[in-house]
């Protein structure tokens, strides 16, 4: 059934006209999962029973004329770091092997309330540490477009499953590109909204000041539709934005005439992949042709982003990971006394990448190093934010690559977490500044889809979606 790669818009149209039921749809996706999973490994948990129950409930609502909205009856998946009451959450770690959250993440709750049907939980890099989904206790995820290349990460399972037609859309988390970069690898749309637009409550924290829930979907309209559902003020997340609930589809179809688009000068150097640059230039040309004004902006502090990010992320991650000690939830190892027990549990339950990151975070926060590393990184972060503020005085949004070329090959960066993080060099800055950023399939190379990224001012998601929709429409013109 090629309906599996249809957009939400199309699927909900079929449901509305009763040409297909949610149960049929859900069963079709479950069949696709069954067929594809042996090869892809995009799911850790498939919730077949509850999915069919939810689909039946959706059909019943529709039968009574009480369908909730466009997402009612649409099958979706969640990265396995989202809490859903009673459904296992592993974060792709041995540490959480038998954990079933007793509560549900706010973002997931919004989708369930809208009648969307949860198919299961997606594979990922362990505790979201990684950019290739090679670091999972449940084995790596394959890229459905090219088995020799990684699907990106850490939300690699989410991206691969949407690309392979195993779900209509998925939610992931993006701390340093973890939604946008796998979306780009798998040829789908990835959106990381402004920090504070989607509640983080119930999503396992990696680095609290950088984490944001993101959307992986087939096209821009679907992305806006999902964002309308999950963006909302949440009193349970103190960093939640009061006016987060808005109509994010508002600028779709509004055109790009008069929009000022910035190209970052520092991203045009010889170290950049020619394909990645070509995609950006082509997108710039299309926008110019449609009446937008494209200009170069300079952002000198982008060079420090990776170092700044690595220090802050490791430090926050180390603190967030302290809770996994075997006492109240998760895996518990033997130990003669309390400290041996927790040390053994953590040592046995966590993978080497995670442990190394925890130790590095411990180092940069230790009393003797705090000022030199952590405080310094927080100050550099301010400079990075200022670069954006300056740029946005001149332009409405920035057009950049998502990553430096096509997805890398299996194993080529494994074991070197810095090289791995460097994959996200172009995605990281918008996390540091908390800005909305969107990865859009654009152009191609070696028969694989390319991608470009749009980065906007805080809360300019609607505008970014408008511009992206224009590029998407242009790309589909024969």
């Amino acid at each position: 059934m090629n309906g599996l790669t249809m957009t939400i818009e199309a699927l909900s149209g079929l449901l509305e006209k009763k040409e297909v039921s949610s149960i049929e749809l859900t069963e079709a996706f479950l069949q696709q999962i069954q067929a594809k999973e042996p090869e892809l490994n995009a799911f850790i948990t498939v919730t077949r029973e509850t999915a069919l129950e939810a689909a039946a409930a959706s059909d019943a609502r529709r039968g009574r004329g009480e369908a909730i909205g466009r997402l009612d009856g649409i099958p979706f998946s969640l990265k396995d770091n989202f809490s859903v009451k009673g459904i296992p959450m592993t974060c792709a770690s041995k540490m959480l092997g038998n954990y079933r959250p007793p509560y549900t993440a706010t973002a997931a709750e919004h989708l369930l309330q809208a009648g969307a049907v949860l198919l299961g939980k997606n594979n990922m890099d362990e505790f979201a540490i990684g950019s290739s989904t090679e670091n999972s206790a449940f084995g790596p995820v394959k890229n459905p477009l090219d088995p020799l290349r990684v699907p990106g990460g850490s939300s690699g399972g989410s991206a691969a499953c949407v690309a392979a037609g195993e779900a209509a859309f998925s939610l992931g988390s993006d701390t340093g590109g973890s939604v946008r970069q796998p979306a780009a690898c798998c040829g789908i749309v990835g959106l990381k909204p402004t920090y504070g637009v989607i509640s983080r409550y119930g999503v396992t924290a990696l680095a609290s000041s950088l984490d944001q829930v993101g959307i992986l979907a087939r096209n821009i309209k679907d992305t806006a539709l999902i964002l309308n559902q999950v963006a909302s003020y949440d009193p349970k997340d103190s960093m939640s934005w009061r006016d987060a609930a808005a109509d994010y589809s508002a600028a779709i179809g509004a055109g790009v005439a008069g929009k000022r688009i910035g190209i970052v000068k520092e991203y045009l150097g010889s170290d950049m992949d020619p394909d990645a640059l070509a995609w950006v230039r082509q997108a710039a040309d299309w926008l110019t042709a449609a009446g937008a004004r494209v200009e170069e902006v300079s952002m000198p502090n982008m060079a420090h982003c990776l170092a700044c990010y690595y220090v802050l992320m490791s430090a926050e991650f180390h603190a967030n990971m302290g809770r996994f000690d075997g006492l109240r939830f998760g895996m518990r190892a033997e130990g003669d006394d309390y400290f041996s027990m927790i040390t053994n549990s953590r040592t046995q339950g966590l993978g080497p990448e995670v442990k190394t990151r925890i130790l590095f975070g411990t180092y940069v926060l230790s009393e003797a190093q705090y000022e030199k590393f952590f405080l310094k990184a927080m100050k550099v972060r301010t400079l990075i934010c200022r670069d954006y503020e300056e740029a946005f005085k001149k332009v409405d949004c920035l057009l950049t690559p998502v990553q430096n070329g096509l997805p890398f090959h299996w194993g080529s960066r494994q074991g070197d977490s810095v090289k791995m993080a460097a994959t996200d060099k172009l995605a990281i800055p918008s996390n540091l500044a908390g800005l909305p950023a969107l990865a859009l399939p654009f152009g191609s190379a070696e028969g694989l889809p390319g991608a470009v990224q749009l980065i906007g001012k805080p809360f300019s998601e609607a505008m970014l979606l408008g511009i992206a929709d224009y590029l998407e429409q242009e790309g589909q013109r024969p």
Partner: protein, 483 residues
């Protein structure tokens, strides 16, 4: 032998009496039943996030104002990272870099006179859970049990400068702090129940030496008397150690009140490094001066000011006013009763006498006493008007103390009336005189103490209902006539 000076700084943790915890909406009340007030946030579950309790911040500001601190316009929370079984997230949310208040002071009065103890800061933080230890306790062979009911309840930590110079001062400082916070109405401040916990940083140095000695932190001190004993013990221990040529090590020591000793709690690996950093999940708290002023207006008149007023306006003695203002309950009861027209000295006597006696013997907490000002005023009025005598009044008061009932109700129930009618008493007086010729003879021979005995006999014969004043008059007249 060298003369030593004791230097003490106190760190007092005080539980704020909010309804809910500091970072989640679980009840903050004490419960014997473990793990009944818990949620993903206070259990540190993955994905759970903290949200600050507004009331806790207001109480902290109120406490700071009562202690003359500079409330900070900007304060923030930080994470303090360490692993312990009573700390589910493995970090405590506290205020390291930008506390809610700085400075301040507590004036204390000891046998050596008045002194001002400066405060360093007050910060807001989440409490840890409770560990119930097996029979063998910490370091023993047994398992422990973790109960998170108390986990994440709001605390303020009040840190003093090392201005305290004796064990007595340490105790009085603690008592004064308790009184002030009780007045401010921000905490139950009960040492015994752990809603106030004091740690003492104790060091000694040769008198006159400007350099501070190495300090030991004494924890687990559960009463103000224990504070005094623990500081005394620790100072002596350090002096002995130095005198024997030893060196004081910086460490944490636990106070064992039963044995009267402190024990080193140093862990094997003494590598404390809390890796503080700003809590990224909580935005800063920015107070505006007007808001701080408004919170200040909700403070009642504090003990110092009340004492001055009681002495100058109500003519109480220094001693009486000190006693009355030692707790907000007695001070409020006094003021309200006087406002209702009772005579100040009489009210003070009743509070310091009967009320304190009942509280002591019955083991009732002052805040839990049901005696209301209007009832105490009414009782005093009955006595003043001669409707009941003092002895009866004490009986009535005890009932009031137990039940909170109005004195009229109790008097009626007990069928108490005071007989002041001379005609009615004359008969009893004559009977008593006739029955006690020896005492009459004694009186005639100038032993006036015999009068007391005779009054007692008349009171007894009247079943305590006679007005002792009238009895006295009647007896005097009758005895004089017999001379």
């Amino acid at each position: 032998m060298t003369a030593y000076e004791i230097v003490v700084g106190m760190e007092c943790h005080v539980e704020l009496k909010t309804k809910t915890k500091l970072f989640c909406s679980c009840a903050a009340e004490f419960s014997d039943d473990p793990n009944r007030h818990i949620c993903p946030v206070c259990l540190g579950m993955p994905g759970a996030l903290p949200v600050v309790n507004r009331q806790a911040i207001e109480y902290a500001v109120k406490a700071a104002l009562a202690l003359h601190c500079q409330v900070q316009l900007t304060s923030r929370f930080d994470r303090k990272n360490y692993h312990y079984p009573d700390l589910p997230a493995a970090y405590q949310i506290t205020q390291m870099f930008y506390p809610i208040a700085k400075g301040g002071y507590v004036d204390i009065e000891t046998s050596k006179g008045c002194r001002r103890i400066r405060l360093n800061r007050i910060h807001v933080e989440a409490d840890a859970g409770k560990l119930l230890h097996g029979s063998s306790g910490i370091g023993g062979a047994g398992d422990s049990l973790a109960d998170d009911n108390r986990g994440s309840t709001p605390l303020i930590e009040i840190v003093s400068e090392p201005d305290i110079r004796s064990a007595e001062e340490a105790r009085v400082y603690g008592e004064k702090l308790r009184t002030i916070l009780e007045y401010a109405g921000v905490s139950d401040v009960k040492m015994e129940q752990g809603s106030m916990r004091c740690d003492a940083n104790v060091s000694v140095r040769p008198k006159g030496d400007p350099v501070l000695g190495t300090r030991a932190e004494v924890k687990n001190v559960n009463s103000f008397k224990a504070v005094e004993r623990a500081v005394h013990y620790e100072a002596e221990r350090q002096i002995d150690l130095i005198e024997e040529g030893g060196v004081v090590v910086q460490e944490t020591r636990g106070w064992d009140d039963e044995k009267g000793i402190s024990i080193s709690m140093r862990l094997k690996e003494n590598a404390h490094d809390y890796r503080y950093f700003p809590e990224p999940d909580l935005p800063p708290i920015i107070l505006d001066p007007e808001q701080i002023r408004a919170i200040g207006l909700t403070l009642p008149e504090m003990p110092e000011a009340r004492k001055v007023r009681m002495v100058s306006e109500l003519k109480l003695s220094e001693y009486d006013s000190e006693q009355i203002t030692a707790s907000r309950y007695t001070a409020d009861l006094f003021d309200e009763t006087v406002t209702l027209g009772a005579e100040p000295k009489a009210v003070a006597n009743w509070i310091m006498g009967e009320l304190m006696r009942c509280a002591r013997t019955k083991g009732v907490d002052l805040a839990a006493i049901p005696v209301k000002a209007q009832n105490l005023a009414a009782l005093l009025a009955h006595v003043a008007e001669g409707k009941i005598n003092n002895k009866q009044a004490k009986e009535v008061f005890e009932e009031m103390f137990d039940s909170g009932e109005a004195p009229e109700v109790i008097i009626r129930k007990k069928g108490m009336t005071q007989v002041s009618d001379a005609g009615a008493l004359e008969e009893i007086v004559q009977t008593v005189l006739a029955g006690n010729p020896k005492s009459v003879e004694d009186y005639k021979n100038g032993r006036t103490q015999a009068m007391g005995f005779l009054v007692g006999q008349v009171m007894k014969a009247s079943k305590g209902q006679a007005n002792p004043g009238v009895v006295n008059q009647l007896l005097t007249a009758a005895l004089e006539a017999m001379k």
